[in-house]
């Protein structure tokens, strides 16, 4: 609801701040000694265009805010599950950061069943389903590991546990 009403204004504001920051940083870049166009030229151009477009977007939407609000109110509410989304995001984040220190095999075996369980529909969370998820996880992890290690010759992060054949 909030996004529908103010989304474009937020986008405009965000891009204005971002481009302003970028232009300030670009100003601090060293100028090129040999030619007119240095490393600061492109960021400046992009910054100016972005700022102008963002300002137009924000302005148009503030002007039409009343119409937008009326439109947004007539629309029905979407049934979105932010809890599932947020937990999934955190899981992915943890997985990616653990991948290197504890290794591919351990982190994947921990991550996969949790993520599948979170995403599973409510009627698919019985004991039998969980066992099925666990089996899929173990098979998949080892197939990927061996396929990459010995088939594709790509060595995955070893971490604390790995298999050498």
């Amino acid at each position: 609801m909030f996004i529908k009403k103010y989304g474009d204004i937020i986008v405009g504001g965000f891009f204005m701040i971002l481009s302003a920051g970028m232009m300030i940083m670009a100003k601090m870049l060293p100028k090129s000694a040999i030619m007119d166009i240095g490393p600061d030229f492109m960021p400046m151009c992009i910054g100016i265009v972005t700022f102008a477009l963002a300002a137009v977007l924000a302005f148009l939407n503030i002007k039409n805010l009343k119409i937008r609000t009326a439109e947004a109110e007539t629309m029905e509410k979407e049934n979105l599950d932010y809890k599932r989304m947020l937990i999934s995001f955190i899981l992915i984040l943890v997985y990616v950061y653990l991948l290197h220190p504890i290794g591919f095999i351990v982190s994947t075996i921990l991550y996969l069943p949790l993520q599948m369980y979170i995403l599973a529909p409510d009627d698919k969370k019985k004991k039998r389903d969980i066992i099925q998820l666990a089996i899929i996880t173990v098979i998949f992890t080892f197939v990927v590991f061996f396929l990459f290690r010995y088939g594709f010759k790509i060595i995955l992060p070893a971490g604390i546990f790995t298999i050498n054949l």
């Binding site: 996004i3 989304g7 474009d8 937020i10 986008v11 405009g12 891009f15 971002l18 481009s19 970028m22 670009a26 870049l29 090129s32 040999i34 030619m35 166009i37 240095g38 490393p39 492109m42 960021p43 992009i46 265009v49 972005t50 477009l53 977007l57 049934n79 979105l80 599950d81 599932r84 989304m85 937990i87 999934s88 995001f89 992915i92 984040l93 997985y95 990616v96 950061y97 991948l99 290197h100 591919f104 994947t108 991550y111 996969l112 993520q115 599948m116 979170i118 995403l119 529909p121 409510d122 009627d123 698919k124 899929i136 998949f140 990927v144 990459f148 594709f152 790509i154 060595i155 992060p157």
Partner: protein, 506 residues
């Protein structure tokens, strides 16, 4: 006439059971690599490179060609079924392919993609076989100024893609350009926006960016839509043959010819690549179409345009590789490595000294695309089964493959971590209704644009001198014209809308 005789004898040599089997294996592995988001065609070629060591030069090169062709074509499978492009070349295949799959026409969409991949490749190989030296001559005359013109032209296509809500669309693209700036500046290597991090010095890699934007955000969006506790199952319509009729095929011919020309043309120019050609051809098809409003909602024309063009790029990209020894993209660079391993030097002399290898490659190209057509035709029914795997099981498995693929690109854990950032960008874009395509297009072209601009200015001393190059002029002014025309159309639409609203109120 000589060419035809050499080609004939090359076919004779390639048509042996052992070499056919090797090529079929190469195409299959290429398709698998292409279809998994995170594993790319260049990775597959890199993997096969050491395997060709023990083969004869001609056989080794044929094998690499097989992997290349399979890899580019395989990308369409995951683009259509999962809305995740398997390779950068098939980004635009998602736009219409996935909506078609959602309507239960996955088989038909795959059929279109496969057949027109085949036609695009065949077209470009015919061009390669008969006009290679001639075209390479023209491509050699391209200076950074012309390349800048083409990049600029491709960039303005964002405006066309974003028509409907242009300000938002172009703004969405600007973020892509901003991300492309991170890292070392071209030419002088000044560190820009790296915030002191050494990992950021090399900038964001293309593959992790694509994975993040398309795959990670898709997983988050799936998680969010589980609110009802169940997911709607896609009903699939059974298909016959390739799923479309002869009449449909004839209808697509003009579209296919145009796309094949765009694909081959872009392929010849070093450094532009399949992702740009697919996207450019998609936008052109949309602009020329009598029903542009159907694009993006499941219109086969979109798939035809993209797949014909990105496969036509293969033949195009081999022209500078074989004739001049200049690789056009990552995959052809890898193939150049293949030549060196076998003691061949790509370049004008190759045609004189090792004509048998060259014509062997031409013959292998034709046979490999035919193999690709056959393998994928029988595969359609298997690929479609992928949609039957429950999403809560499939999505996490794909995420793991994506992470592995991102890691394998450069063996850097930073690339894996950067997919999270781009996943978040993709998700927020979805939430705020910003289109992701302009972002991707701008990200891909951003670096090229700056490099060519600065290189050109170094060569010609000033930007004004660019205008003395007629090819640059053509691209530049057409681009400006397209922008002006699109803005005018957009403005007229805005006025119309306002008029309708005012009429309603009174």
């Amino acid at each position: 006439m000589n060419a035809l005789i050499s080609l004939g004898s090359a076919y004779g040599r390639v048509f042996t059971p052992s070499s056919l089997l090797l090529m079929a294996a190469g195409v299959t592995v290429g398709i698998i690599f292409g279809s998994i988001p995170g594993l790319s065609a260049s990775m597959a070629v890199a993997l096969f490179l050491p395997l060709t060591f023990s083969m004869s030069p001609s056989m080794g090169m044929n094998m690499l060609v097989a992997v290349y062709i399979g890899g580019i074509s395989g990308g369409l499978i995951s683009a259509i079924l999962l809305n995740m492009p398997g390779t950068a070349s098939s980004i635009a295949t998602c736009f219409d392919g996935h909506p078609m799959a959602k309507n239960g026409e996955a088989g038909k969409a795959l059929g279109y993609g496969i057949v027109f991949s085949f036609i695009g490749s065949i077209f470009s190989f015919i061009v390669l076989t008969f006009c290679a030296p001639l075209l390479a001559d023209i491509a050699l005359k391209f200076t950074p100024a012309e390349n800048f013109g083409i990049s600029f032209f491709a960039l303005t296509m964002v405006a066309v893609l974003a028509s409907g809500s242009m300000v938002k669309g172009v703004l969405a693209g600007m973020l892509g350009l901003i991300f492309a700036l991170v890292g070392m500046a071209p030419i002088d290597g000044t560190a820009r926006f790296t915030f002191g991090s050494s990992s950021l010095m090399a900038g964001f890699d293309t593959l992790p960016t694509l994975i993040g934007i398309f795959a990670i955000s898709e997983i988050l969006i799936t998680a969010e839509s589980m609110g009802n506790g169940t997911l709607d199952v896609i009903k699939m319509k059974p298909i016959k043959g390739f799923g479309f009729s002869w009449k449909d095929f004839v209808y697509q011919i003009p579209n296919a010819i145009r796309s094949a020309l765009i694909g081959t043309g872009i392929g010849i120019l070093p450094g532009i690549g399949g992702s740009t050609s697919g996207m450019l051809s998609y936008v052109t098809a949309k602009n020329m179409s009598k029903h542009p409003e159907e694009f993006g909602k499941g219109c086969p024309d979109g798939i035809v345009a993209t797949e014909t063009a990105n496969n036509a790029t293969i033949g195009g990209a081999m022209i500078p590789l074989l004739v001049l020894g200049i690789p056009g993209d990552g995959v052809t660079a890898m193939m150049l490595g293949g030549f060196l391993i076998h003691g061949l030097s790509a370049g004008p002399l190759l045609f004189v000294k090792n004509a048998d290898v060259v014509y062997g490659i031409f013959a292998a190209c034709m046979i490999c695309v035919t193999l690709m057509l056959l393998i994928e035709f029988f595969g359609i029914r298997v690929f479609v089964q992928l949609l039957k795997i429950p999403k809560h099981i499939l999505m996490p498995l794909i995420l793991v493959l994506c992470c592995v693929g991102a890691y394998a690109t450069n063996n850097r854990i930073f690339d894996v971590q950067s997919i999270i950032l781009f996943g978040l960008v993709g998700y927020l874009y979805h939430k705020f209704r910003l289109p992701t395509t302009p972002f991707v297009l701008c990200f891909l072209i951003g670096k090229m644009l700056e490099t060519y601009l600065r290189r050109g200015i170094m060569q010609y001393k000033s930007f004004g001198a660019f205008f003395q190059r007629p090819i640059f002029d053509a691209f530049f002014f057409v681009a400006i014209g397209v922008v002006v025309w699109t803005v005018y159309k957009e403005y007229k639409m805005y006025l119309n809308k306002k008029g309708v609203k005012a009429a309603e109120q009174s």
